[in-house]
């Protein structure tokens, strides 16, 4: 049993720490979140050219590194620690979809573009409260040469800037998880319009995309057209794990910065870190951070197992919902406690803890909050599926 990182993985993470501590500083994040793009394009270029992180999941046969999800999730965790704001997780989700369901030609074409530094994202729902195949409203109407896609998507992470978007759309007249397909669309396609939607958490830009009779070739369809509801569910599960890794990093950073502050702040002639009421709150925060870490690492392994066909969809679903439920609540708890323990300065714009608190709420509702994922686990548990 080796539920610990290999030396190679530790090296990758050390390098990631060094790079992110240089480029993803609080001033840099605050500056880039005010821009239209929402992140620093030069940092993205360095991420692709120097760090080669876009290549992590891409197989060596496509010039990638062919590494696994533990490596990826470890980097996502570190990005979360530093509020990193670029479409890395979204792009990785699309790469995962191509790995699992892409045909040879699709992989060759899209992996080459992604290796060259293009970004990608995922668009699923419009007005629904839940991310699921059932909630897909956009339509994919078969044409002579492919499909005509129409519909509106909201909550599209980095949707205003991504070079390509993997959209879910259903056959006209279909319902539920039936009839759903996944399509890769260039965001410069005719009929596609998009705008950034202002968000409470400014470190994770969201956009609204409208597809008005966008024509795509038959080769844009990933997996079985009209029968990809399950694939969509699995893709959302993978992305949920990615988000929970970000939440883990955010929780850890919230705890660290809070404890640092408590060790400095003096009241009643002693550091406030010396008060037991404060210490116990921090202990509860650390418990949730470490518990998050245990489930996130498991979920990363679960994705590896699933990609390699050793885990089925139910096992992936369980891992993803456990991870997303726990980490969503943990991050909100830890960053919320952080604000409380910072005291008055915690609610100022100047201190960074508020940025983490906002990111906690944003990542909690994105892809389903804790209660939704627990209900999914309850359903599986009571049906004897986990």
């Amino acid at each position: 049993m080796e539920f610990a990182f290999t030396e190679e993985q530790v090296m990758i993470f050390d390098t990631a720490d060094a790079f992110l501590s240089e480029v993803s500083t609080a001033p840099a994040i605050r500056e880039s979140m005010q821009t239209d793009l929402g992140y620093d394009p030069q940092v993205w270029d360095r991420l692709c050219q120097e760090m080669y992180w876009q290549a992590i999941l891409i197989p060596e046969t496509h010039e990638g590194l062919g590494l696994g999800f533990v490596e990826l999730v470890g980097i996502l965790e570190r990005m979360g620690m530093r509020l990193f704001n670029a479409p890395f997780a979204d792009t990785a989700a699309v790469i995962t979809a191509l790995l699992k369901w892409g045909g040879e030609k699709q992989q060759a074409e899209y992996f080459a573009r992604l290796m060259a530094g293009e970004s990608a994202t995922v668009a699923v729902i419009d007005r629904a409260r839940q991310w699921s195949a059932d909630a897909v409203t956009a339509t994919a109407t078969p044409t002579d040469s492919g499909y005509e896609l129409s519909g509106t998507y909201r909550f599209v992470s980095h949707g205003h800037s991504a070079d390509m978007v993997l959209v879910a759309a259903r056959a006209p007249g279909s319902e539920g998880s039936q009839g759903v397909g996944l399509f890769l669309v260039d965001t410069n396609a005719e009929g596609l319009s998009r705008k950034r939607t202002p968000t409470m958490d400014q470190t994770r830009p969201l956009a609204e995309l409208t597809l008005d009779k966008v024509n795509v070739a038959a080769t844009a369809s990933l997996g079985c057209p009209g029968n990809s509801g399950e694939a969509l569910t699995q893709l959302l599960d993978v992305l949920s794990v990615f988000v929970s890794a970000d939440q883990l990093g955010g929780s850890q950073a919230s705890l660290d910065m809070t404890v640092d502050y408590l060790q400095e702040r003096v009241q009643f002639g002693r550091t406030i870190a010396s008060f037991q009421a404060v210490k116990h709150k921090c202990a509860d925060m650390m418990l949730k951070v470490e518990a998050s870490r245990s489930i996130v690492y498991y979920a990363a392994c679960a994705i590896d197992e699933w990609v390699q066909g050793r885990y089925d969809a139910a096992q992936l679903a369980e891992a993803a919902s456990m991870s997303k439920a726990y980490c969503s609540d943990a991050f909100f708890f830890v960053s919320g406690c952080g604000i409380q323990l910072f005291g008055g300065v915690g609610i100022t714009e100047e201190y960074d803890i508020q940025l983490y608190f906002k990111r906690a709420k944003a990542t909690e509702t994105f892809l389903g909050a804790g209660a939704e994922h627990r209900e999914r686990i309850a359903h599986m548990l009571l049906a004897g599926e986990c």
Partner: protein, 397 residues
Amino acid sequence: MKLTFSAEDEQFRQEVANWLANNLCGDFEPIRFRGGPGDEHSFVAERKAWEKKLAEGGWTAIGWPKEYGGRGCSIEQQVIFNEEYARAGGPGRMGHIGETLVGPTLIAYGTGEQKEKYLPGIRAGKDLWCQGYSEPSAGSDLANVKTKAQFDEASKQWLLNGQKVWTSLAHESQFCFVVARTDPASTGQKGLGFFLVDMDQPGVTIRPIPQLTGTAEFNEVFFDDAVCSAGDIVGAPGDGWRVAMALLGFERGVSTLGQQMLFQSELDDIVKIAKENGAANDPSIRQRLADAHIGLRIMRYNSMRMMSGGEDGSLQKEAMIYKLYWASWHRNLGKLAMDVLGPESELLTDAPYELNRLQSLFLFTRADTIYGGTNQIQRNLIAERALGMPREPRGTV
């Protein structure tokens, strides 16, 4: 990072499972799933016999080096043994204190004579041990031990006087390891000794402590000029605290996954009842069932992290949260069990005070967050040792 055991370890698992299937049956059938926490008073004679059966099969002290009669099993194999043991319904071990605490301590710190005298009896499943740490005035503040050990020059042996409390299985044990003050002028962690005391002597009195469950797992133990031979002190006089703390570090979490198998069977019971009585239709119950399931899985991966970590004995963060985590989870499970049962939770199996498994779980888990370091002490330790926050001031009273 891997989730699986090696093929060799899986073969070991099969060996364990086969042995248990062939031996935990017949006369031992009634003790399956019995004698765990809150049920330690049950089937004592049968469980003592079972310890000997385990020893005959070579399944006691499996983590000890072979030269001391152990199997020299790796951490992984010990984990596997505990998992299979729990899966098969292996009864609460009576020899676990000797096997997991006393044995490794003597192997590390004991004299040749002590090893020869005590290890074989533990290994054979014959000698049971109990722990003499806590006292009425040394609860969370364990170093506040008042029991005195005085060396009697005339008889060339130690004389112990004082009282221990919360001593599990004291009335069933041949021996007790006792922390007592060798320097009467000392306070706190200094001036203590670590003694190996024979329980079968006139100077030792045992009195059970009835609990809220109506049972009595714990005892008070009184020492009135209890004798301990000169050769039965581990380490030097004054060195007892170091030995006592080292003992607590030996277990290394190998039994945690086995403990979790027990938790899983409790949760399975609760889920089953929830489906039968309709509680599973209640959205708030559903949330809590899912939360319990998630919490238990996290416990598992947390343990796997603990056991995959460095062997230098230093406690990592995942190990530092473990007690607070499992105790709180288990206490919550006890309450969930009652809430799933609803009004039925009040009705006893029989008079005068026959609790069913889940009622016992509910009541006994209130102890989980107290013994072995209360939740409050655990939070102090986490804040101070893992987060580097200032230590609690020590009082002068």
